[in-house]
């Protein structure tokens, strides 16, 4: 740690410059970056998407070459295990083969795709060991088992025989970590190891890495754009911006006294849990560099827009010889809530707890099994297809992945105009004007109208999705993880936009998210879901400040806080694996019963499975 600053750094990156040869000429991935990592130290590299974080780390592994990149300048000094400093930028791939995996381990961003789908976990774990350490198969398996135990995977013996797809995301990421740790590398590079994961799993992984680092003394280079994670992990922080290092320093210094404007903006954009404490209504975030921001609370109204009662959605699981339904996935189970006009209800919970299914059920994009949905006097459940089409004029949805939810082959103007065309609301120049207005609404220049989704950044894409949802002047927008895939700064902009629209147009939102800090920022009411049920429902302030249900409490604990002074330790966490939501045919779960702990604050009293 920092108490041995004199220790010889394990890796020194000096004036790194990486170029990519593309059809439109060379593209600079990293312009000029220098920093070093000492043994036993965690260096966090932060910066927005595309700022060159991954490219820097891949350069150190000399893996950029395989992606078409070229290290065109700088040195990458690495202190090899058997002494001797080597410039990795100059060595040949044969030597690199011995260093990779052996002396430098790497954990990749996407646990879902980083593992080879057709080999067992055991095989992939032992491969590196057998190459570098020359272990026999049996020895290697022994060691693999030990590694799996170290990363605390339940039932490690069985895991060795399993294929990656049979593991959950968290487990897979742990396997990737075990793999990177296998040969006890001196430097571990972790490229956004938790970005794709849930809060709870993220918390576990972070704790795990921290412990491993402490136990083995490995140096860690940790790449992320999540400031809360940085606060949790880092000893030292390097801030990157557009291919350059803009700031470097110990973690406290970066958080408390940021120097560079970009760092300041970054920090400002991070919603922090607890920031809203004491405020009754949500209000937009204060963003740096935005002039004339109007920060006012959004109270909403008290008249009910949407009333959902006893909503139940199940997905059939077919099986057997005749492909009959043998079981059901109880995705949404007896869920009831209301949303007021101009207000936001947030649904939070772990992956797979049924948030999306609930949102889609309301729009009847999936057919609910039973329940009542009343949207401003319209009984949605009773509508036929054409009635439903009409009802969707009043409720719209924004989807999680801004890229996936836009058609890559259509110009933006057409995508935004599509709902208007569908309902024959406007045509010709009127249509064009309305679309242009929508672009204005979401703060996109009109010149973007002829672009394609791939020509937009993630935030801009999500704005298009919002514009499209707004086109029909809906009363209710269901935002299913609308900001989860975005960079912090972009996320803040989109959140502000959504709140601004709410204030101006009196929109109601059903906001689905697993990010507690974001939820705290935007919602009037919060519902916590677990295994298809709402386990706790109430005003945002009450649920956050006074969580009653044990699951809510655990969830709150897991959220990392963007403050290096308030790190969580591993023992704070106790998560049980989620039980299966699949029940055989005929299983009839008991109805949910709630206790009102405070006015408007309900907690589930019946069994939730937690």
């Amino acid at each position: 740690m920092l108490d041995t600053p004199s220790a010889h750094p394990i890796a020194q990156i000096r004036n790194l410059r990486v170029e990519f040869q593309t059809k439109d000429g060379p593209v600079v991935g990293v312009e000029d970056v220098s920093f070093e990592v000492a043994p036993g130290e965690t260096v966090c590299i932060v910066g927005e998407s595309g700022s060159g974080k991954s490219v820097s780390s891949l350069s150190l592994m000399r893996l950029v070459e395989f992606g078409g990149g070229e290290i065109s300048g700088g040195t990458l000094l690495f202190d090899r295990r058997d002494g001797g400093e080597t410039d990795l930028a100059k060595v040949d791939q044969d030597l690199m083969k011995q260093i990779r995996g052996n002396e430098i381990g790497m954990i990749f961003q996407e646990p879902m795709t980083a593992l080879n789908p057709v080999f067992t976990v055991g095989r992939q774990l032992t491969e590196g060991l057998r190459v570098h350490k020359g272990l026999s198969r049996a020895k290697a398996e022994e060691r693999a088992l030990e590694l799996l135990r170290q990363v605390r995977i339940p039932e490690p013996e069985r895991r060795l025989q399993q294929y990656p797809h049979e593991l959950s995301g968290g487990m897979r990421q742990r396997v990737v970590i075990a793999m990177a740790m296998a040969c006890e590398p001196r430097l571990l590079i972790a490229d956004e190891p938790t970005t794709a994961l849930d809060v709870t799993i993220q918390a576990e992984i972070l704790a795990l890495m921290d412990r491993l680092k402490r136990e083995t003394g490995t140096a860690v280079m940790f790449i992320t754009h999540d400031m809360a994670v940085v606060a949790q992990m880092a000893d030292r922080v390097v801030v990157m911006y557009r291919g350059n290092k803009v700031e470097e320093g110990p973690v406290e210094q970066i958080f408390n006294a940021p120097q560079h404007d970009y760092t300041k903006a970054l920090l400002a954009a991070v919603p922090k849990l607890g920031e809203m404490r004491g405020k009754a209504a949500p209000e937009p975030m204060k963003l740096l560099g935005v002039e004339g921001q109007k920060i006012a609370p959004i109270p909403g109204t008290d008249s009910v827009l949407l009333r959902v009662k006893g909503l139940t959605t199940r997905f059939p699981v077919k099986g057997g010889f005749l492909r009959r339904v043998v079981a059901n996935v109880h995705a949404v189970e007896d869920v009831s809530f209301t949303i007021n006009k101009g207000q936001t209800l947030s649904l939070v919970g772990e992956s797979g707890c049924g948030k999306s299914s609930a949102g889609r059920s309301i729009l009847r994009l999936v057919e609910p099994l039973s329940g009542e949905i009343d949207l401003d006097g319209v009984d949605v459940m009773k509508l036929d297809q054409s009635g439903l089409r009409k009802a969707r004029l009043d409720m719209q949805m924004i989807f999680q992945d801004p890229f996936a939810s836009l058609n890559p082959q259509m110009q933006l103007v057409d995508q935004v105009a599509e709902p208007l065309r569908n309902y024959d609301i406007a045509s010709g120049s009127e249509l064009h004007d309305r679309v242009a207005n929508l672009f204005d609404r979401v703060h996109l220049p009109r010149s973007f109208m002829r672009r394609f989704p791939h020509e937009m950044s993630g935030g801009q894409r999500q704005r298009i999705a919002i514009a499209r949802a707004l086109a029909l002047n809906p009363k209710l927008i269901i935002a299913d993880e609308a900001v989860s895939a975005l960079d912090v700064s972009v996320q803040a902009q989109v959140l502000n936009l959504m709140m601004e629209l709410q204030a101006e147009l009196g929109l109601s939102y059903l906001f689905i998210s697993h990010d507690m800090a974001v939820v705290e920022r935007v919602s009037h009411h919060v519902g916590v879901m677990y295994l298809g049920r709402i386990v706790e429902l109430g005003p945002r302030a009450r649920v956050f400040e006074n969580p009653q249900h044990p699951y809510t409490q655990a969830l709150m604990k897991a959220v990392p806080i963007a403050d290096p002074a308030r790190r969580k330790s591993e023992k704070d966490l106790n998560f049980k694996p989620i039980p299966s939501p699949i029940h055989p045919m005929g299983h009839d779960p008991a109805p949910s019963e709630y206790r009102e702990v405070e006015p408007g604050h309900y907690v589930l009293t019946t069994d939730s499975g937690y």
């Binding site: 990749f108 491969e127 190459v131 049979e166």
Partner: protein, 335 residues
């Protein structure tokens, strides 16, 4: 997986029955007459008598029913009799070819060896050549080798075998005298020398057929490799310090082979179906030649039986390909 397989097999029965009906109706509708090859010197009255002797006088549905019974009930009995020495099928009329007045299945069985030898070898040779070409072309995309491979395989794809076959005959049989131009189907392989003779006579048809199959398979292999080479797990494998050989030939190849293997499986019915034009050009007289001959002679029972067997194989190998996919790709589980 087992239930999946069984369910598909059970479902295949009505499908196949329907296919057999469609084939039958198609053949009935088709113009043509089994007497077409009887010389003009035979007068029409006699031809009419001959037609009746073939059973053509009966109404269509009766003939279809007869065929069904013969094919699904009597032929299996014959098979059992053949293997176990029983005599279930004694006295029953089997599916009889109009051209040869002999059981269709006997001829099919007789034709199988040469078809398998030639077309099967061509398929194997093509696979052996195509896979490395595809792999290397993908690994060095847009390299000289890749461009060359594309060029050759496209030319191979575009030359019809009635031309390439004759071309190799003229070059290698007529001018160089290396290989026989006519395949000897009676040749028996029982020692090294006779094996060499067999190889000799197989070289040209195998060459011509393999060229076409290689052209398609190597394209496919290349596409599949390219799809996988950019996957994240490849980077992971490299980060582990594995050698390029292991990365490409173990990690990438194993994934790329999944679709290719199923494609190969889907191509197997074509082996049994023979290669009509190539067999004709080299006088291999396998199943393909049998089919085209039967079509030309309007030998309906033969055509019906052969196409139906072919349909069975297609349906079967469709299923096998699906099952293989499930076996090769652990992510896929059929319930």
């Amino acid at each position: 997986m087992l239930t999946f397989t069984i369910r598909r097999l059970v479902l295949a029965v009505p499908t196949l029955l329907f296919i057999s009906l469609v084939i039958f109706l198609l053949l009935e509708l088709a113009p043509g007459d089994p007497m077409a090859q009887v010389p003009l010197t035979v007068p029409p009255e006699v031809k009419e008598k001959m037609r009746e002797a073939l059973g053509l006088g009966q109404p269509m549905h009766i003939r279809f029913w007869k065929w069904i019974v013969q094919f699904f009930w009597i032929e299996p009995q014959v098979l059992i009799d053949h293997y176990f020495g029983t005599s279930f099928s004694e006295g029953d009329l089997r599916v009889i070819s109009w051209q040869t007045r002999s059981p269709v299945m006997d001829i099919v069985v007789q034709r199988m060896p040469q078809t398998l030898w030639v077309v099967g070898t061509a398929y194997v040779v093509a696979i052996i050549i195509a896979l490395p070409i595809g792999i290397y072309s993908a690994y060095r995309q847009y390299s000289w080798f890749d461009q060359m491979g594309t060029f050759v395989s496209m030319v191979g794809f575009s030359v019809p075998p009635f031309f390439s076959g004759v071309l190799v005959i003229v070059i290698f049989s007529v001018n160089l005298g290396w290989f026989p131009s006519i395949y000897d189907t009676t040749h028996v392989v029982n020692d090294w020398d006779s094996f060499v003779v067999q190889l000799n006579q197989m070289v040209m048809p195998v060459m011509v057929l393999a060229l076409q199959i290689t052209a398609q398979l190597s394209r496919f292999m290349r596409a599949s490799m390219l799809d996988n080479l950019n996957q994240d797990y490849v980077r992971t494998a490299r980060a582990k310090g594995l050698s390029e050989y292991v990365v490409v030939m173990v990690h990438v190849l194993r994934n790329s082979m999944i679709p290719v293997v199923t494609v190969i499986a889907l191509g197997i019915p074509a082996i049994f179906g023979g290669a009509i034009i190539t067999e004709q050009v080299f006088k291999v007289n396998g199943i393909g030649q049998l089919l085209i001959g039967a079509i030309q002679a309007n030998d309906l029972p033969m055509v019906q039986t052969l196409t139906f067997i072919f349909a069975v194989l297609i349906v079967l190998f469709n299923l096998i390909a699906d099952v293989l996919y499930g076996i090769l790709d652990p992510r896929i589980r059929y319930d």
